[in-house]
Structures are given as C-alpha cells and as structure tokens.
Subunit: 208 residues, 2 copies
Amino acid sequence: MRRALNKKRQVERSAETQQLLIEAAIEMLCEKGFAGATTANIAACAGVTTGALHHHFSTKDDLLFGVLDYVSERIVLEFRAFGRKGRGQPIDLQLLVKQLWSIYGGPQYWSIWEIIMGSREDERMRERLLQHRERTMEALNQCWLTMNPNLTFIDQRTARVLDLLLSSIRGLCMDRFMRSDEQYFHDQLTLLVASIEPIFAERRSLAE
Amino acid sequence: MRRALNKKRQVERSAETQQLLIEAAIEMLCEKGFAGATTANIAACAGVTTGALHHHFSTKDDLLFGVLDYVSERIVLEFRAFGRKGRGQPIDLQLLVKQLWSIYGGPQYWSIWEIIMGSREDERMRERLLQHRERTMEALNQCWLTMNPNLTFIDQRTARVLDLLLSSIRGLCMDRFMRSDEQYFHDQLTLLVASIEPIFAERRSLAE
DNA sequence: ATTAATCCATATTGCACAGTACGTATTACG
DNA sequence: CGTAATACGTACTGTGCAATATGGATTAAT
C-alpha cells in the first residue's frame, strides 16, 4: 500500500522497510487501537507482507519496541530544539502549551498510550515503557532548564504544574474519540493556558 | 470465583447473575483492558461459565451494552444526589472536583473508556456510546442548574470550563498507568482546583 | 563466478477467542 | 404431579491471530 521499491543498497532498503513498518504500526495503533493493530494490518499498511514484518522484527513486541524508541527519539529531539529556541527568554506559556500539544496531543503519541494500555500485563513491555517515560521526562526537564538558565534544578511545585499541564493535554486528547471540530480543541487549549497562567505567575513570584 | 448460589426466585437469581457479570466485565476491562477482557475471563471473575454468560447476554456486545447502561444509570443518580445536596448554595469548587473525580477518576469509569477505545470501529456501539455521553452530560448540566437555581441555562463559557475540568480529570486518571501513590493524585486535584478557581470567579463576576 | 547472506512472499501451524449445540438440574406453572 | 421453561454447565466449532517454515529472488562477499 505504501512501499515504493527502488533499487538501493540492502542496508538502506532494510532500514527503510523497518521505518515503514514502524510508521504503519503507529498509524494502525491510532486508527484501530491496540487490539485492532494486527501484524497483517500493519504489514498491509506498510505495503509489505507479514513475512517481511517478521523478518525485520522477530516478534510483534519487537516492532512495538521499535515504535517506542522511534517516538522517544523524536520527542527528545523536539524538546531539545524547543529549549534552544527559547533559551533565556521569559517563558511564553502559550507557546509551551502549543508545543506540548503538538507532541502529546497529536495522533502520533496516542500510539504510545495504546501500547501502554494494551500491554499493561506484559512485564517486559512495562519496563521499556518506564524507560521511555524516564527519557522523555528528562528531556522535558532539560528543555525547561535550558529555557531558564538561572535555574539549576526544577522545584517540586513547578514539576507538579507541568504534570497538570500534561494531564490536561492528555485528557483533552481523548476528546478526539467523541469530538472532531478542531475549534473545540483550540478553545480548550486557550482556556488551559488561562487557567495555568496564574499559578505559574505565583511560582515566579515565589522564586524572587 | 464470586457466585454464592442461594435459593431464590429465578428472576432474582437471573438479575443477580447479570449484575455479577456486568460488574465482572467492568473489573476485567479495568484490569486487563479491552483486549484482555475475554468472555472466559469475565465469566470466571463472576464465578460462572461462558455458557451462563451467553445465556444472559447473547453476545459480548450485549454485555458491554449492559455495562454502559449500568454505569450511565449510576452516574445520573450520583449527579442528581449531588445536585440536590448543593441546591442554592454557592459552588464549592473543591467539592465539585472531588465529586467529579469520584465519578470519572475512579477505576469504574475507566471501563467505559476501554469500551470507547476498543469499539471505535463498531458503528452500533458508537451509537450507544453517544447516547451514554448525551445522558451523562445532560445529568451534569441538570446538576449544575439545580445547584444554581437562578440560572435557566448554562452559558458557553461555563460549559467549556466544565469540559476543561473533565479533561484534566480524565488525563490525571491515565496517570494511574504509570504512578500508584495516591498522594500524587490528591496533590494534582488540589492544584487543579487552584488553577480553575480564578476563571470560575471571573465567570461569576461576568454574570453579575 | 560461485557461494553465502539478506530480503521478502506464500503457505502453514497452533492457539485463543466468541459463539453454538446440547445436556442437566432446578424452578415455575397449569 | 407432570410438563414446560429457565439457568446454567460442558463440549465443540469456526475464525482470526502471531509465529514458523520454506522457497525464490536479489544482493553482497570471496
């Protein structure tokens, strides 16, 4: 469905196919959920067969590990870029929320949640998921510290406010299952900014 | 696992078994997720066999409809009781959040989300889910109007603030997959109250 | 140029699942 | 009391799934 087989080096083709499979897996996880994202579905979406899938990923869990690593990497890079862009400038809450929404509110990250919820009894997967969480949270923290060069660590209060922000975005994301008008999401994000702003200001004044 | 078979009327026993199955379904949905909540699992959890399950609910979807109706009913009743209790009194935001958390943040409501996410491609189920949403939201609105007798309808702004509240609670609920310390949830709810309070006050002053 | 390795497809296997068929014991009813 | 209906349980069936086995075609290595 997607594969365009052109003549290349084996290593390149191999990497390309793996990437195709990872992206197809993400797409199927978002579209059909954990239970609906079968190997056949994923393979078909990537334009290959289950044979190819099992050649590159010996097990379905392996493929999901691939998804996890891929998304983790992207998130880390995005946070790093965002941190550099806002270095030293006063925090623009609206921009921050927009960034967090683009990372965690998009359909792509939802695939991770599907994995989290679908593999809740798989011990090996849970370990990996905790690592993923560790990595991405660390990236967010580093991003924050880069943007506030005068800080050396993140106080508890700030961490919790960020947690609340993430929770709200997560919950808003789930509204996609029932609503589809983008205007709603935009409005709610604006409202979220307005509601968080005061306790952010409070934090700032406490720091002084 | 759960059934205590005492001699009763057939209708009573029948109703009791159905209730047992519904509660077992909720438990399995929460514990193992949509994919993990198999008919065998649910039946075992209820202390019966799949034969009994299929006797009372001809299809698995029927059982899920039962779950949906049961939870909807409970929510409607809870909102009604809460509305009566707070009739005419000024809104206690903290109490409201606590109530919403007890309804939507508990493990029970999570089963509904499992159904929503797991049946996203099932048109019949989606219809039912929309009805459920309609009913419970209407109950929340009625609750709100009961608590504010001077109001005749809910303005857009208030509706959106309530939506934000629900989103945040929903997102916080998902933290259960990664965290387990109740203190965290308590803290975040407090923070949520603090963040919503100002925009609530603003709404109030606008009304005057 | 052979040989080996890689990439991928087709066909198959084994298993878990929802749903069915049917049997049995208990309860309701005339 | 006898008969029908109900409430289950047991055993089975068909299906969809992840995973395996195998073979062919292309690419790399010697």
